[in-house]
Symmetry: C2
């Protein structure tokens, strides 16, 4: 863990190093992934079944690719009722937020008599990738599937690998609750290929979303263009801005909630009180003694954690913008006034009773967020990812007479004669 | 040009071939591009100057990378007044449409007492790539720069190669009119690298947009993640849906306006009258005799053009959705009723007096649109490309008491103990 103070001469160098630290080269898996995609594209189901047998130790035939409704019901029946209840609370709140997010169509007629508009339509079909094994988070299923469902996507296909054939009941329950229409027991680049190109059994989709390992990320990169993809997530981070009126243990737990995700996760505390920062550092050490994921959280905190002392909250807001964190907590008396000064953050959590974990599960806004400084230009997953716009123009002769001549001039200046003629001939000028 | 009829037994095979025809493999330029990017990243201005000397035959020093305000003024003074006037008409209309497109922030407090919201912020800095030579379209400068300016982007850097040092006055005039804040006389992968990584002279940007050749497209692909990029444009297409009440020559000109762009462009007429289709085919042949870009338009029409006869407009709307065209013209008595049935199109042009060329220049909506069937999942360029959302949650103790327990249950189910503790400790339960 690094200690930095904006009042120190070494601050700038230390802060720049903090931002650069986690820039890692992704592994080179482009060639094996290209081979898998080509295999799936040309041989379809047969390739998918062979690859699943090889990578997931699961012999499959095409008729068993899809997890049946009976299997789903049998598995979800195993989920304890309190988890089902919690899933419903989360799903309902995520639904409500994303419904509020739905954009409206727009149309107006301007002074020249031209009618202009834009109309939103849902994608026809979306593919949702869900990692298998330990990285299978039911909350991620909710966060990826519900916005698509709310947007109006009719076909929502999910792929989840089931190594050795083991199904994850809570993941299946989350899929069922979120409007997923079909689930396939496949993973890796072969699942991405199946969703992008289609096979005899799996119809192709228009966009693929959801987290995955390096192979899945590279496969999404390679099929991009044929289908849409979501952004490739990097390691996760949180910035907690806290004054000394907070309980150090609560701040420490929030920092550790980020750190326990991944050794590459980054947790940063910004405070205006060095002594408070030290109290938090001590509380972190205490918590690390007992946390079940202590090994991961310790490594993350040791390598990428930081406590930064600032002179005031304006300075804090400026640092936040330079970090452009995925998650921002403002544990202050007046969090809104500081939040108003921040431009770059994926999601913000305001007040002393709003830990980031609320946003992971039950807040309502999406937890799929821009990581690794990409909040400078990117946003969290939303209904917008599952909608697209068609703009339109309607003009009659009178309107074309008004705006057409300028178009003719520009078309001719660009040397595009047919463009110019298509307007001027309508006006009887050629 | 292909003739297809939905009433024929061969229709389906012919239509599928029509969609597949233009699927081309992009050239393999990933290695030379990677080398150029690495060179620019490590050596900055020196690399950019050397590469510009090599590729554009233009010896440069770092102090000459940027085109000065005096040069811009001197060049734009050469533009004829009618072109300046036309540029102003186009720019004002593009501004008005994109201003209407600006989304509003959202906030609400729900029944549990949780305040939820999302806030839009502009990107800090955007890089605009403009091709040099013949492909330099002033209208593209307007269409890329104005949405960024309207969104509130403060820094709008443009790179335009000037082979042999030749500047394009109308391109510079368009940049000046659109709020571009700085212009560099560089192009290719080296320009993309300079904007993504920054050099001693050129500060890095957050997102790079604008069309370019295969090297530029590959460079954007490689810097994606460090910065945002726009979609990679493929060959362009139009579908014209027209009844026999239209002047065949006007329909022919609209088809040729698309075809004159590029040998890979695709122009498709859908009509309910085979004889009218033949009249349009004849009119195309007549126009091709005199068009200045006849060679390009002829090749495009010969290889990818099509006239499809349908039984009714419902059938037409279904075919449009399968094509998911970049541009859709509806030259019908009641274009709105057919448009209402279409889900997948980049931009639509309604009525007999609204050729697609209007949208290229003076309509107002953006002319940077999803090509090659990507309108299934993608949208045209817009203010959204230059904004990003921060979602937020505010909760007090009472609100956390209501929604927190479900979060604790799910966090524990996912094995994330610190997540659970960060909520339960605030509620005094751990």
């Amino acid at each position: 863990m690094k200690r930095l103070d904006t009042g120190s001469a070494e601050f700038e160098a230390g802060f720049v190093a903090l931002l650069a630290d986690r820039e890692t080269e992704s592994g080179r898996v482009d060639k094996p992934v290209a081979a898998i995609l080509e295999d799936v594209r040309t041989r379809g189901d047969a390739a998918v079944c062979e690859l699943t047998s090889k990578f997931d130790r699961l012999p499959l035939t095409p008729d068993r690719l899809r997890i049946s409704a009976e299997e789903i019901d049998a598995e979800t029946a195993k989920v304890p009722q309190d988890q089902i209840d919690a899933l419903n609370v989360a799903a309902s709140r995520i639904e409500a937020f994303h419904r509020a997010q739905l954009p409206k169509d727009m149309e107006f007629t301007d002074a020249d008599g031209v009618t202009l508009g834009q109309r939103w339509n849902a994608l026809d079909a979306v593919g949702l990738y869900v990692p298998g094994g330990k990285a299978a988070y039911p909350s991620s299923v909710l966060m990826n599937a519900i916005p698509a469902h709310v947007a109006g996507v009719e076909r929502l296909a999910m792929c989840v690998p089931t190594p050795d054939g083991v199904l994850n009941p809570l993941v299946l329950a989350a899929a069922k609750r979120s409007g997923v229409t079909e689930i396939y027991r496949i993973g890796g680049a072969q699942a991405v290929g199946a969703m992008a190109y289609g096979t005899e059994t799996i119809r192709p989709v228009d966009r693929i979303v959801g987290p995955g390992n390096a192979y899945v990320a590279e496969a999404k990169r390679q099929v991009f263009g044929r289908v849409g993809i979501d952004s490739i997530a990097g390691p996760s981070e949180v910035v907690v801005v806290a004054d000394n009126q907070n309980n150090p243990r609560l701040v420490a737990l929030d920092l550790m909630a980020q750190a326990e995700h991944d050794e590459l996760a980054q947790s940063i505390l910004i405070t205006n009180d060095t002594a408070f920062g030290e109290a938090v550092a001590a509380a972190v050490e205490t918590e690390l003694k007992t946390l079940t994921r202590s090994a991961i959280a310790s490594a993350s905190w040791r390598d990428f954690g930081a406590i930064i002392t600032v002179a005031n909250w304006d300075e804090a807001a400026k640092l936040v913008d330079r970090i452009a964190p995925e998650h921002l907590e403002l544990m202050l008396d007046d969090p809104k006034s500081v939040f108003a000064k921040v431009r770059h953050a994926g999601a913000a959590f305001l007040g002393r009773f709003c830990p980031e974990a609320v946003g992971d599960y039950v807040g309502g806004p999406n937890h799929v967020l821009p990581t690794s400084r990409t909040a400078r230009f990117a946003s969290g997953l939303s209904v917008y990812d599952f909608l697209k716009r068609t703009t339109y123009i309607a003009a009659d002769r009178e309107a074309l007479e008004k705006i057409g001549p300028a178009g003719v001039t520009l078309a001719n200046a660009e040397g595009l004669e047919a463009h110019a003629l298509s307007i001027s001939a309508r006006l009887g000028n050629s």
